[in-house]
């Protein structure tokens, strides 16, 4: 009895188990990486990304995961700031009056406040520049 190539060479006509190598697709890799991300399993996610990129080096989604999970490069640079202790004191003394709002404080002065972060910044953009920018803080309401 002949059943096809799987039984060729088999005396009893029983099929030999076939080993089919399984190649994970890029989409399957991405789903697994997303699961590991959600489970906060960072080292495992990073290892899986490296494995996936060996097979699919040009996949934009995998490359984005690589970028997202890689430790960033750090450099010295950016704006010099001032000691914000006076701003913290102002917030402790007066912040409760602005619950649910963004406040902009410079030293012991309130420059502006709004529940809308964008509107507050637009208002601040119109003010004359000072040596240091205000500290912008959202006052929790619960």
């Amino acid at each position: 009895m002949y059943h096809g190539p799987a039984t060729e060479g088999s005396e009893d006509g029983m099929a030999e188990p076939m080993k089919v190598p399984y190649e994970e697709t890029a989409e399957e890799y991405k789903a697994r990486i997303a699961d590991l991300f959600e489970q906060e399993r960072v080292p495992g996610a990073r290892r899986l990304i490296d494995e996936a990129l060996q097979r699919y080096p040009d996949d934009p989604g995998l490359r984005a995961w690589k970028k997202a999970l890689a430790p960033p490069e750090v450099r010295i640079g950016g704006a010099r700031d001032k000691d914000r202790t006076p701003e913290f004191h102002w917030l402790d003394a007066h912040g409760f009056q602005y619950k649910g709002q963004w406040v902009a404080v410079l030293g012991d002065r309130l420059l502006g406040h709004s529940p809308d972060y964008g509107k507050l910044n637009a208002y601040l953009d119109e003010l004359p520049a000072e040596e240091f920018p205000p500290l912008v803080v959202y006052i929790q309401d619960r």
Partner: protein
């Protein structure tokens, strides 16, 4: 300043608040100054127990093209499971002593996340730098990694 093999342990320092400003909480928390892009400095909660950082979506919107949007993602948070997107955002730790530090940090951004809350978590941000706290003086020290 601690020096290890001749090099300073950290490069910069800023003051931190040990409670949510204007809002008295029962437990201490650490709020440090950060600057996103060229925007004005904000306070963000330092959370070394969180795997990832979360950026207030209103802040992300204002940053516009400074934000590089990456993959969609789902994250379990203390406010429940949320869908959002990962993003790389330029972050500066301003220094009132020493030198500021800048990096492209990875943040989770969700439109479901409440306004005013930004968390600095471990992976993709704090794991790239050195930092230390002086709780008696409310000083946050930060520096380049080895």
């Amino acid at each position: 300043m601690l020096r290890l093999p001749g090099e300073p342990f950290t490069q910069g320092r800023s003051k931190f608040s040990d409670h949510s400003p204007g809002f008295r909480e029962l437990t201490a928390k650490v709020y440090i100054q950060v600057q996103f892009g060229l925007d004005r400095p904000l306070l963000a909660q330092l959370d070394t127990g969180a795997a990832w950082s979360v950026l207030d979506p209103t802040v992300a919107r204002r940053l516009g093209s400074s934000v590089e949007w990456l993959n969609p993602a789902v994250m379990g948070t203390r406010l429940g499971t949320m869908s959002g997107r990962l993003a790389q955002v330029p972050v500066t730790f301003p220094a009132d002593e020493g030198e500021p530090l800048t990096m492209l940090g990875t943040f989770f951004v969700s439109e479901h996340w409440p306004t005013g809350l930004t968390f600095l978590g471990y992976s993709g941000l704090l794991d790239a730098m050195r930092f230390a706290l002086d709780p008696q003086a409310n000083n946050f020290y930060f520096g380049l990694p080895w």
